[in-house]
Amino acid sequence: MKKIPVWFWQIALLIAIFVIWHLATAPGLIPPIFFDNEHRAAFFFGEPEKIFSAIWLWFTSGEIYPHLWVTLQETVLAFVIGTLLGLAVGLWLGLTPTASAILDPYVKAMNAMPRVILAPIFMVWFGLGIWSKVALGVTLVFFIVFFNVYQGVKEVSPVVLNNARMLGANASQLLRYVYLPSATSWVFSSLHTSVGMAFVGAVVGEYLGSAKGVGYLIHQAEGSFDINTVFAGILVLTVFALLLDFAVTFAENKLLKWRPQQAETETT
């Protein structure tokens, strides 16, 4: 018997979830178990059928594209700026022990602070456009990258470092050819998390106040108790996040090919 591939079960599970969701919420299909009214379940949990038609309408009318585009822009900008800042500050503090000793409590304090509460301040500073969301995303991404780079610099193999010095590398060459590649590999190891955080920053920022973006769509729908549109927005965001994650995996495989893989044997 041929083995049924994993993706088959993955898709089957997805369909099953939507079927159960539909059965449990469609008014009049099965008698209400928990709620006293057959329309209640649909009110609280939405109906897959209506959710999909909302999504369908978004994409066919083209209404969703500008919103997705804004969210994508915010995510990418937050990721890029946060990563560059984290890389620069991480390298700096990793290589200057005095500065890192002085700034240590501040770094810890800033990291411990729940940074989502900064969103209103950023809105005052940067307005309701994309930059307040980018700023929020940057504060989230920065610390992930920063800590990884800092660790990466601290953990450069002393032997590799001494070897490069004996081969004639000067201070700036050590930075460029030893510290930076070593730190970058740590950045990549946190890539999934930091892209995810940039996305969270963008969506939360939109949700808290904006005129565009998928977060804004969800917020609007919530205002009018349109639970189906809320779920539609959530589904679109989820798929969007999955696609981002695929893109990251792709980039990772391209850029980190020097890394030992977990399994290198061929399987049949």
Partner: protein
Amino acid sequence: MTTALSFTNVTVTFTGKSGGVGYTAVEDTTLNIADGEFVSVVGPTGCGKSTLLNIGAGLLKASSGEVNVFGEPLIGLNAKAGYMFQSESLMPWRSALDNVTAGLQFRGMEASSAREKGEQWLARVGLSGFGNRYPHELSGGMRKRCALAQMLILDPKIMLMDEPFSALDIQTRQLMENELLQLWEEDKKSVLFITHDLEEAISLSDRVIVLAAGPATHPIGEFAIDLPRPRDVAEIRMTPKFLELHAQIWHAMKEEVLKGYAQTRNKVVV
């Protein structure tokens, strides 16, 4: 004959943690390596052999005493020396070829001519066709070859080698030793070779220096190895002359090895 590398009354004391008493690794050591000479330093594990080598490389500074390179006092890193490390020293994010040409790149050589030279050196150490592999895709022996090429491409006058083959299995090790000797015979660089393996030391060297057990190690014996060259490290081990030298040096070393062993044992017990 000119002296390539000389240590004169060198003492190395590491500062103790939080103002405690320092640890003297090397004490009052005088050692000369002539131009073109292959000198091995043997001694019990942990006696301070590597410290001595790091002093010669300029990676560590001697607490007192003098280090001279071709008559000039050593300041900063020893630019005339190449260093081959005991553990993995290749940059894992660079391919074998890029690792070999790293030193040329640091010196600002044009990329295309560096690559050409790198390919030549890869071929000389038997790695042609492996230039695109990353270190993790190479075997332990291949990584050592790569490190050897990485050092030799810069044509150093002095080679400092810190138990470079100790992590290899015995067959690969003997192959590497033979290849090292072949490369060395081509232009006779000065070599300071650190090892704890007496057989390796005898079969490679012109002179073997025995260090005392640490702390405060210093040379306690010096033996000229007048075995004919070129040598085959696997075969020379069977000759009577080799066995005679081995017995002689081992006799001098034995006590120190036992001392070193007793120390490490006590460390565990205490």
